[in-house]
Symmetry: C2
Amino acid sequence: MSLLVVGSLGLDTVVTPFDRVENALGGSAVYISLAASYFSGPVYLVGVVGDDFPKEYTKMLENHNVDLEGLQVVEGGKTFRWSGKYHYDLNVRDTLFTELNVFESFDPVIPERFRKSRFVCLGNIDPVLQIKVLDQMTDPQFVVCDTMNYWIEGKRDELLKLLKRVNVLIINDSEARLLANEPNLIKAAKQIRELGPEFLIIKKGEHGALLFAEDTIFSAPAYPLEMIYDPTGAGDTFAGGFVGYLHKTRDLSSENMKKAVVYGSALASFCVEKFSTKGLEELNYLRVHDRYREFFNLSKFDE
Amino acid sequence: MSLLVVGSLGLDTVVTPFDRVENALGGSAVYISLAASYFSGPVYLVGVVGDDFPKEYTKMLENHNVDLEGLQVVEGGKTFRWSGKYHYDLNVRDTLFTELNVFESFDPVIPERFRKSRFVCLGNIDPVLQIKVLDQMTDPQFVVCDTMNYWIEGKRDELLKLLKRVNVLIINDSEARLLANEPNLIKAAKQIRELGPEFLIIKKGEHGALLFAEDTIFSAPAYPLEMIYDPTGAGDTFAGGFVGYLHKTRDLSSENMKKAVVYGSALASFCVEKFSTKGLEELNYLRVHDRYREFFNLSKFDE
């Protein structure tokens, strides 16, 4: 039973009030795979890059037990590039440029060997492509999906079709409000779950995350970080940690889902402590578990 | 050992997307006292109204074991009036008008009988007046204080003087950032605690609250309300529930302080379910405790 991750791989140029990096490793599939790799491997990655994609990045991913058979490398093509600038309070960012490059004509082809994966994590890409991925899978049992405002507004019908085939939707609070057209998050969550996903996770950045299930609502705290170096990839990392933990434990109960939300939050807290993927490259399960315990202590109170 | 509450009493005209009320009971001292009354009484209230203040409001407060010996009634004077309009998402409000009236020349005089109170809750009023209150107390052991942007910007020096005499400061996230001039809440909290308060509580509205103490940070969830009728007074109610629970239990440990934060949050969740003080008028300890348990279940996960 394996885990398939589909999404973007990119070269990010990120400017924060503290520093600036150019052509650093980025992309949803990268963050998801790295985060999931701390729970169980291999992680099957499907995506596309140009032949300018640095070999060191490929190597680093392989060292984390990420299987790259599904990574298309376009000869003579340029890798997807994105640049963003974060403001002083790090909650606001401007996109400086987006170059789709090889990503523009990305057609996800799932290698035969990957098609039997029971766990699928669809990173934030065009819902048309996300559906294409599911169509190639033999028997996907547990599908986790991310999306964004751009698709909610621009490809609503396709997204709604997709949502009927998704077990867990992970979005942020503004996306939830937009998708349901409802300012109250609790009402919005109810409406979104009626669109298909049995579970809904609403990420609230520095305010933690909410998990909505049939029988329960769970509020997970955010880790009290004094220094956030680079918020890029935090949401993808959350999704990767979440699905990675579930993939490892094979327990899809609401109670275990809560633990998965906290593991996702723990991974995301490591992610933002360094630039690009650096915060995710040198972890180990013990450190992840220690941070999980810190989350536990942060929100624990007597009954 | 009793609890003294000082703050405003007012007549509020509130407009929300759902309804509108005129001259409803409001004011920080009112919300704080009502919330605290569910834990232990009597609550000693000090404030000022005009002789237009409806007798039914006085009666309701007295029925909740609020001792009004310290309530100055100005003959021929008009009670403080405030009007606000909430937007569709209820997180944004415009002040339509503020008439200070008798509140403009409020000079808090603490009745002899009240001066020995060990617990003091200073509602959001001019820090000069808050200091005046403390100066009249015989031996205040535990001082809880609220403030707002207006005083942080306009009376900073007086506020800083006050903070040295305060055990718990309760403010919201934007106020914390403004007071510390620091966008990161965790850093801001550290800096604010160095100004005097041993404990700091940062309210985050629909995102819950954070408690900062010497040895711990505690993240309390917000209650997942599908319908918020009127957010007015939620912060004051939080403070009242918090200090009321501590006053009842006489346990100022960090662990009990966490429980107090959740009791404050529970009271605030009742407050916003109805207009004005209506959500606080018909409670009982059992209902409050049931909601406390809902908060417990909302944030509980396995270690």
